[in-house]
Symmetry: C2
Subunit: 353 residues, 2 copies
DNA sequence: GTTTGCGATGTGAGCGCTAACATAGCGCCA
DNA sequence: TGGCGCTATGTTAGCGCTCACATCGCAAAC
């Protein structure tokens, strides 16, 4: 047996007594191989512990089994969960996943991330970066590279898999309205995130549909810190009874801020989050929130991307059919309640715990 | 200009009026090219927007610029943060990162993850899976594949980058002892995680050094849910004054449980977490915890791995010199305090809020 | 009995690059 | 002035695979 050197296709061919091409055919599950030959080749592969060389295959047929994922460098729950979903789904389809995190969220940052991926000869790219600048950068992408985007509703530049943020936000706000709240604040994510826009829109329309006035958006940045700051601000201005937070981390920070100001959740203020992070139900109080199915998003991404990869690049010019959006669900826990008769007034019993 | 087809080395060579080999030399920064020729070639590359083909390069010199990372499929903060650190560091060194999540944490699971990576022709592998079974699987790895592990102290099978869990746990427990606590419980991670073992050891020795008795370990699974369960258990048995939680999520769940039982943190019970997740300082109360520098871990991983990749496989047989461990730091916030005179007794004023 | 057709296999070229060697051109010394 | 050694460049042969095509049987068809 040959020591050191790993077995290559020719070794298998020799052992099986066929040509290398027949081995290749077996490897690729071509139909034109007789059953007996196929068995013999498969046997030889096993005996030699043959592993096809991905680079040689890729070089020969100009297509790798690698999918690139562009994601954000923050450890945000949403992107991380989506990445996980993608990786799982890709594995099922026989694709590997190579990642490239965005160090700057702007046009050049996206381009360089995309480049670092295409330089690795990926077969296609998933962009998990629901950001305006990213969406714009995607328009510059040559149509020869197969790409799908997550959450970036970018008029047809590339197929997009998205969670219906508007519907999710509506559910959150309608829940608060049903409880009897007449004024619902919104602490949003960064304004240039597409999810932020969708959630704001859902919040506005839900309010409008109920004939209610939407106060000014308070902009956060997804972090607990920014939620805390927003909470402090709302506490200071008094008589807040309901807040829809752009995500669970901000909701968490906000709860902290209210707590410090002696405002009880949900007795004085109701809070709804977004995402349903695993910790949400163990916060004080357990958080009412909107759950997104990131696994489903990952699956759809890969399905769409694989379809794209396997169609001829020339046919990709045709407008990509819209993929139906994933609908989030409302999870009611204990951070929301009917407003108390009076609402709270600012600073009614500050304690710093 | 040639439409459709991307420029290859020969196109550049022709345009620059040199041979393809000279282009290759320029590409690889070989010294034996005259300054003027180099300029000419570089120019041609720019003009044609030449991008070297990674698969061809890899095939020709039997080495890709891809690093594989085996990680856990849970969205745990630690592994996710480490992955991020690795990806950043790898980018700096000119390597791409391909990931493979472990769907089962056992021998076969690790092997299949490793295989899916080597099938992608990665140049080396980082294993972020601080788990006994993983450590054992790594022993079976042929020495021809360059590998480093994170957090798995596995007697020399592969070089290991690790955070000093024992020291971190000691800091946590010593902090509690200094505050005056005489009995410190520990809610650990899953028993087969190496980090769990380290933290238990640190907790035990810190207690022993202070002449204190270590109660039985309460085993959790890193989740907030398990911390909650542990908290309920501790609340039921009464007179707990201090708990060292294996991570922040469990600390969070525990705080919730205590809260439900009317036990105040830190007034009645002090809690220390581990990791310092970004939300830790906005919990109620802000969590005293142990911070790990995952970025540093990532950097050291890549440094060690690249060294390994770039040394001849035959020289890899020599025992890998131990890499110094990363030391975690104590972050004191508000979840710890001196024990109150009496300690708390069980169920002293349950409220469910 | 020759032809046609088709399923099973083999052959050669080439994917885009690098390693190893070959060669050309130059200045330098004896 | 020939020969040496040096540097800058070109040439050739792969890396391990797949593609396109050629070939070989063997059965059905005339």
């Amino acid at each position: 047996m040959n020591y050191g050197r790993a077995a290559v296709m020719n070794d298998v061919a020799r052992l099986a007594g066929v040509s290398h091409q027949t081995v290749s055919r077996v490897l690729n599950n071509r139909p034109e191989v007789s059953e007996s030959t196929r068995e013999r080749v498969l046997d030889a592969m096993r005996q030699l512990n043959y592993r096809p060389n991905a680079m040689a295959r890729g070089l020969a047929n100009r297509r790798s089994r690698l999918i690139g994922v562009v994601t954000l460098e923050t450890i945000l729950y949403g992107p991380a969960a989506t990445l996980l979903g993608i990786e799982r789904a890709a594995g099922v389809e026989g694709y590997g996943v190579s990642i490239s995190t965005l160090e700057r969220i702007d046009h050049d940052g996206v381009l360089s991330a995309l480049e670092s991926l295409t330089d690795q000869s990926v077969a296609g790219v998933v962009v998990i970066a629901p950001h305006g600048a990213v969406a714009r950068a995607l328009h510059r992408l040559p149509s020869s590279v197969a790409a799908v985007a997550v959450e970036a509703e970018i008029g047809g530049a590339v197929p997009t898999i998205f969670v219906d943020q508007v519907a999710g936000a509506r559910k959150a706000v309608e829940h608060l309205i049903q409880l009897g709240h007449r004024k619902v604040w919104h602490v949003s994510g960064p304004p240039d995130w597409l999810e932020t826009r969708g959630r704001i829109e859902g919040w506005r329309t839900a309010l409008a549909d109920a004939g209610l006035h939407a106060p000014a958006v308070i902009a956060g940045d997804w972090s607990a810190r920014s939620g805390y700051a927003a909470g402090l601000q709302l506490a200071a201005q008094g008589n807040t009874t309901a807040v829809f937070a752009g995500n669970d981390q901000m909701a968490l920070g906000m709860i902290r801020a209210f707590h410090e100001r002696g405002i009880r959740v949900p007795d004085d203020v109701s809070i709804v989050g977004f995402d349903d992070i695993p910790e949400a139900m163990y916060l004080c109080p357990p958080l009412t929130t909107i759950r997104q199915d990131f696994d489903e998003v990952g699956r759809r991404c890969i399905a769409a991307l694989v379809r794209l990869i396997e169609t001829d690049p020339r046919d990709r010019l045709s407008p990509s059919e819209p993929v139906p959006s994933v609908t989030p669900t409302l999870i009611v826990r204990e951070s929301t309640a009917e407003p108390c008769a009076a609402g709270h007034s600012a600073h009614n019993s500050p304690r710093t715990q």
